[in-house]
Symmetry: D2
Subunit: 187 residues, 4 copies
């Protein structure tokens, strides 16, 4: 292997002190040598509109699509809104799936994490993400997803993930993600 | 009954010539005497951000929330993106679900329609909408949803719904929606 | 009101010491005066087969269909298998949805509960149940579903629900279910 | 490559003249040289019961688990019942996922097909299958699933798939499945 796999990290919340952004930041900082995670901010990505698309992809969209295209995998950390995918994240995924048949995301390995203040830790949205990522043609890792409940105590005031069980789950998941990417790339 | 039920119509696409906007427009024009449908445009509703929310709801959001609150029911016509809810629509639903415990959408009757160029006619997104609308506490009509396939031929060049089978399905669905609202309001 | 609403309770597991059967039993024993819950055992309901159906509904199926038809509502307590509905329960729902257009379950109020040893407490299956119950034309209660995590400590050795938070959630949910049935019956 | 990949085919319906069994049979007969499909009948697989499991897997279950273990991939053809997975199929999947952590299905490549008399062709159940197969740890193919609408005309009276578009979709899907298995096996 010539170096670590390059991973684009995407947080499904725009809030500055978002727990999911903090979870992604923890993943970035604690990543194993096999992964180099770079967080891509969704701020500036406009609402999807085919009339806009017809005139050319807005800068923030083109950058997102290019970042995914240059990466070996995509790591998503997302909250759960109304048992589903936040509109902010789904909107980014809608742009990422374009243009049809020629998107940079099709075939790309992807893993999902999430955290929420409640007991479920985003279990529901992780169910809902499955057919969407499949619809985009992405190659989903299974068996090592991370759902961190009780976010208000799992992170400290500075946004560090301090819950040991959650830290272990993230570590295990990142190793599994590197293995998944390796498995798909070995052809 | 003192008059027709007031319905807020929401299209899940921002495109000017959106088939789903045309479907909603057909519903508006062809509505039975029991329903008065007014279409609420999502243009201007920003991406959800709790930091923004903390400073007060943006105008377009406050108007959407108020329109839902003043209505007897919500009618959604939505395309299907990547087997799921368009980010544009989910983003509007996320705002509509706020603030937690005091939203104007909780308990409100809701019906879903959709059309797509393909054979499914948005069947998949209608499955995905169920838990989201339930998570918002909305009272979903069942048994008379509308999924119009082959949108490019179901509508004429001016955006009129010309497919007879689809027109009949919309008519039946609107009658069922009026009955559903009546059933829930009769207490 | 002439008496309590009659509720058919269905557990999604055949295991004798099933936590979900225990949860349903707790609901039965602790039901408010507005509800009379009778548990209907799924043992004996065969696997769905249209060739069998063509010869007439097996006894256990006919009894299930009749019990639902005679009830004012259906209360389901279900575990979560592989993020989805247990085959045992889905099989019973498949029979309950028959014959098409003339089932006893269409239009019937329904509420869902669940418990699991893990942290999610069946949150995922409750998401997955939404479109299925909608597909059956059932009138789902929203906003007061019950998901009890950590089943091994929430129940004592005799199968009594001892977790106070869970007991309160069940009590609130049963009251909400009586109100939901009343709302739909008031026409 | 030492020979064709061995595929276990599973039909989600017990009906003798099931369209999905016919679809699977068409896949078997028309399989490319890279795939050898053997159909495994679900008849005899009992309803899942942990009390039964505790005494040992029933013969039909042990055979199903062994067949999956010996195969290079699993091909499922399923109808859609109430927008969801048939109980018969979900019940088989529940057994296939056992015992926890040591199932023969975890990690196994899987592809899904389906046909229905209606216009959707099982699009909805294919959405619902995603999180279930992921929950089982199976490696789902994406991008080449098959949904055949209008089953009553897509097949002739002898159960042969005669719709050309559907035949082409099956052929493309089987090639993609062989490629997917090869990609995962190449490590």
């Amino acid at each position: 292997m010539a170096g670590p796999y390059r991973i684009v990290g995407i947080a499904g919340s725009l809030r500055a002190k978002s727990f999911n952004r903090a979870l992604l930041e923890h993943a970035r900082k604690s990543a194993p040598a096999t992964l180099a995670i770079e967080i891509h901010d969704l701020a500036g990505v406009p609402l999807f509109d085919q009339d806009v698309e017809a005139k050319g992809y807005p800068d923030a969209v083109a950058k997102l699509q290019a970042a995914v295209g240059a990466a070996d995998g995509v790591l998503i950390a997302t909250p759960e809104y109304n048992s589903g995918i936040p509109g902010v994240l789904k909107n980014a995924l809608d742009w990422m799936s374009r243009p049809p048949g020629k998107s940079t995301s099709a075939g790309k390995p992807v893993a999902v994490m999430g955290t929420s203040p409640g007991m479920g830790g985003t279990l529901r949205v992780q169910v809902v993400m499955r057919p969407v990522l499949a619809g985009m043609g992405m190659a989903q890792m299974v068996g090592a997803d991370v759902a961190v409940p009780s976010a208000t105590t799992a992170f400290d005031a500075e946004g560090n993930l301090v819950d040991e069980r959650a830290r272990a789950a993230v570590a295990k998941s990142l190793d599994a993600f590197a293995a998944w990417i390796g498995r798909l790339k070995s052809v």
